[in-house]
């Protein structure tokens, strides 16, 4: 076992993991943060997307030991303390950008990173930028609308 210290949603958490423990499993099983989902198990679907030092990463394609010392943000960590939603969550809510909801935590985290990385996103940019996040309900239209709204580049 190896000891790691991660700052998860602003709180320092130290625990022991096997080196082969994937970050998504540590978040879910060791820290009880089950908002981050496991989807494809093969780095394709993006359901497990979290922010590592502010940038989107697939938590199924990182060992927890690689994240030692890093700041991790999960879907549980983006709303304000008073319960008001993050602007991206609010946009997903207003645009009804979810159907079954399984992909939603990963979509929201990927979208937050995308908007930060690519200022002035248009629809094409959102669709390309989210190509690593699959929605098997195929509810992409409203997801794209929500991201454009949160980016302030369309979708009013």
């Amino acid at each position: 076992m190896t000891s790691v210290t991660l700052t998860v949603n602003g709180t320092e958490r130290s625990f022991e993991v096997e080196p082969r423990t994937l970050l998504v499993h540590a978040l879910r099983d060791d820290l009880g943060l089950t908002g981050t989902n496991v989807g494809c198990d093969s780095s394709s679907c993006g359901a497990c997307t979290v922010l590592v030092d502010g940038e989107s990463a697939k938590a199924c394609t990182m060992f927890t030991v690689q994240a030692d010392g890093a700041e991790i943000t999960t879907i549980e960590g983006i709303a304000n303390a008073d319960g008001t939603l993050h602007p991206m969550q609010q946009a997903f809510h207003e645009k009804h950008a979810l159907q079954c909801g399984y992909c939603t935590p990963g979509m929201v985290m990927a979208a937050i990173s995308l908007v930060e990385e690519y200022p002035g996103l248009d629809e094409d940019g959102v669709r390309h930028g989210l190509e690593g996040n699959l929605c098997r309900c195929t509810g992409y239209q409203n997801i794209v609308d929500a991201v454009l709204q949160a980016a302030g580049t369309g979708g009013d």
Partner: protein, 272 residues
Amino acid sequence: MIPAAFDYKVAESVEHAISLLTEHGDEAKLLAGGHSLIPMMRFRLATPGVLVDVGRLDDLRYIRRSNGTVAIGALTRHSELEHSAELAQACPMLSSVAALVGDPAVRHRGTLGGTIAHADPASDLPAAVLALGATIVAQGPSGRREIAATDFFTGYFESVLADDEMITEVRVPATGGGWNYQKFNRRAQDWAIVGVAVADGGAGVSLVNMGSTPLRASGVEAALASGASAADAAAVAAEGLEPPTDLNADSDYRSHLAQVLTQRALNAAGVA
């Protein structure tokens, strides 16, 4: 799927990484961004006994231009290539190809040295550095050596790198000539079924997923050098090759695609 158990070592320096590789021999693998290796470990296609994590060697994350060359640290991430204004100016093909790898989350973690060392014939960046005539700098127990990209790839996921060597830097020429990269796939985020990179107005042409390694299209380059048109040069793109057959495409389809994409890439690079 859970990877097989392994011992985890954090490299504090390049020298430390090499000493760990020397100590553990072919049991050990380097871990950089992990976006090629971890999926293979999850499918148990790779079961290294020791992982040497070089991902914290931040002094190997840089893009430096001097004279006619751009030197890129091996741990520079794809997203850093994509967003580097200096690289976009000095070697626009490389930043443009980097932006086509995987998706943004993959590009935040994947590294240039890692994708080259992985030597996947279907990957974008190995073919790009091949077309550009890059030099790959590797360090081992007895020092550094420079390897021409044309000599680097030897087989399916295989290269001339020894078990105790790691890539530290990739040098590409700052190129002024026309360039283009064609990536053909059917689904977003997929590997190229076939890809074609054209550098420096056709002086360097390479093919993705047309054999067991990324390949220089030497027939196309020779035809262009002797004055052939883009169409005539592209017609020989698949000559002598044995492209793979898989669920995406059979060998004949890939050969045809290579010709079509080569002509498109040459035309887009300004070769008539």
